[in-house]
Symmetry: C2
């Protein structure tokens, strides 16, 4: 495995690889790798000649009061994991190399970035879209792998790739969970003991919603209310503070009134436990070809 | 020469060409080709294995009160010119294919797009950046050719390409002029007889500025005043209505107070003659390596 720091070096390598006709699988990450990331890397490894992982804690997607400084950066451990998974190139750029002083360009996916998590994180998804476009241009992937946990991110990146005619496929992989159901996330490391014990209620609430849908309840208002009820009825430990619970179309992110089996509906939520913001989601409805 | 309408077909062709290692030169146009465009095509022909010209009157870069419908579309003539110049592929997409109903993505180059022409054409340069990024992703050029006449466009596209790490070079070519000095433009066709006779004053005003700089006058205020004076002193025919006269840094587009021989300074103007908006510019100062 080769570690590459400079964007121009990485791009020189990938342009050369493309000319040789090899396929490139790309897993962009912010590091602090967990089993969720590893599931993406493993699939990339199965489906491509070359696997490139990037580790970059992107300042552009953090708000001024967010956890940019505090975000975990266990590079030594991440490097070892990438090596174990047969990664070919680990792209590990500096912020200064990706954002020189006179950097000015911004990609916006209108209508998808100001809802759900975008409401409480203004500018976050513009930061995500912009850095992902940059990484795609540097890494030149045929396939890029994202986790369903960041569902809004996946929806936005898919839309951007389609809208800008980027020549690659976006593959979205299922959420990987701890044994007690908590969705794996680098930010789970922030949870203190009591908070960690409480955290699985987030997924239990989504499972509760799934059960209601399975029973034939289709009204999104009732589903959202049931989720909120489970969250705030949390007895032992800190009660989650709900940011949002949303029942939306998986492509447009527009609210869905009545859940249909024939459409893909995203039930997503964000809640704070202590100071830690957790997100999770489930997708309802029949999967369509070429979609997630 | 092959005419390609569908973006996916064009991209399939270019991805195949890249794999074979050929270089692609790209000239994006809105058609109504004149000698300015042809100079770009000829240079692309000299410098690349494959030359692709696109003709697309991009609705995204026209304001609601602008000349989208009226813009000339002499496709038969354009096709013939491309054939004569040895173009390999003429990419001629429909608006519906580039902008499906659910299109949402927008590229912004902050700070460069709301000045000069951007002031009176809100959204114009976002439309330009977005379509050019799409075309680059479809056509996969090694080199893309733009005219200096649209100087702000060239500055913005250069910045976008650098900021988004797009793997290509932007080549900016000099303005091609009619014998009387009028910068060639597809929009010159709108000028009525008297207006056409008046139009060369635009370049005469810029030449006047050049003479002042050559004489050692470095104060941008004086230069701009001299340009405006020449424009409004126009005696025979309609007097041009000045939109702006700007003396700015060629990279940042920020106003320059004192013109230096060691910096690249753009002196640009826009003026209406009758209903037709004309733009023109000159660049002062020593050319740096790899710049225009």
């Amino acid at each position: 495995m080769k570690i590459v720091k400079r964007p121009e070096t990485m791009q020189g390598i990938t342009m050369g690889l493309k000319r040789k006709g090899g396929t490139i699988g790309f897993v962009p990450t912010m590091g602090a790798l967990h089993e969720g990331h590893l599931s993406l890397i493993r699939r990339a490894r199965r489906e491509n000649d070359i696997v490139i992982v990037s580790i970059f804690v992107n300042p552009l997607q953090f708000g001024p009061s967010e956890d940019l400084k505090r975000y975990p950066r266990p590079f030594g451990k991440d490097k070892k994991l990438c090596l174990q998974e047969g990664v070919d190139f680990l792209f590990y750029p500096d912020a200064g190399a990706l954002y020189p002083r006179d950097f000015r360009t911004q990609i916006s996916v209108k209508g998808l970035e100001d809802v759900l998590c975008g409401k409480s994180r203004p500018g976050h998804f513009r930061g995500v879209s912009t850095v992902v476009a940059k990484l795609f241009n540097i890494v030149q992937p045929d396939n890029a792998y994202f986790g369903q946990k960041d569902s809004q991110q996946a929806v936005i990146i898919r839309r951007m790739v389609k809208d800008l005619n980027m020549p690659l496929e976006i593959v979205v992989m299922p959420i990987i969970r701890e044994k007690d159901g908590l969705a794996m996330s680098s930010r789970n490391a922030y949870l203190e003991n009591k908070e960690r014990e409480t955290a699985p209620v987030v997924y239990r609430a989504l499972q509760g919603a799934g059960t209601l849908v399975a029973k034939g309840i289709r009204d999104s208002g009732k589903i959202a209310a049931a989720i909120k009820n489970i969250l705030i009825s949390q007895k032992s430990g800190p009660v989650p503070v709900i940011d949002y619970v949303a029942v939306v179309d998986l492509e447009s992110l527009l609210p869905v009134r009545t859940i249909s089996r024939d459409a893909r509906t995203l039930i997503a939520l964000a809640a704070r436990i202590g100071k830690t913001r957790l997100i999770d989601n489930v997708i309802i409805g029949r999967r369509k070809k070429g979609k997630w």
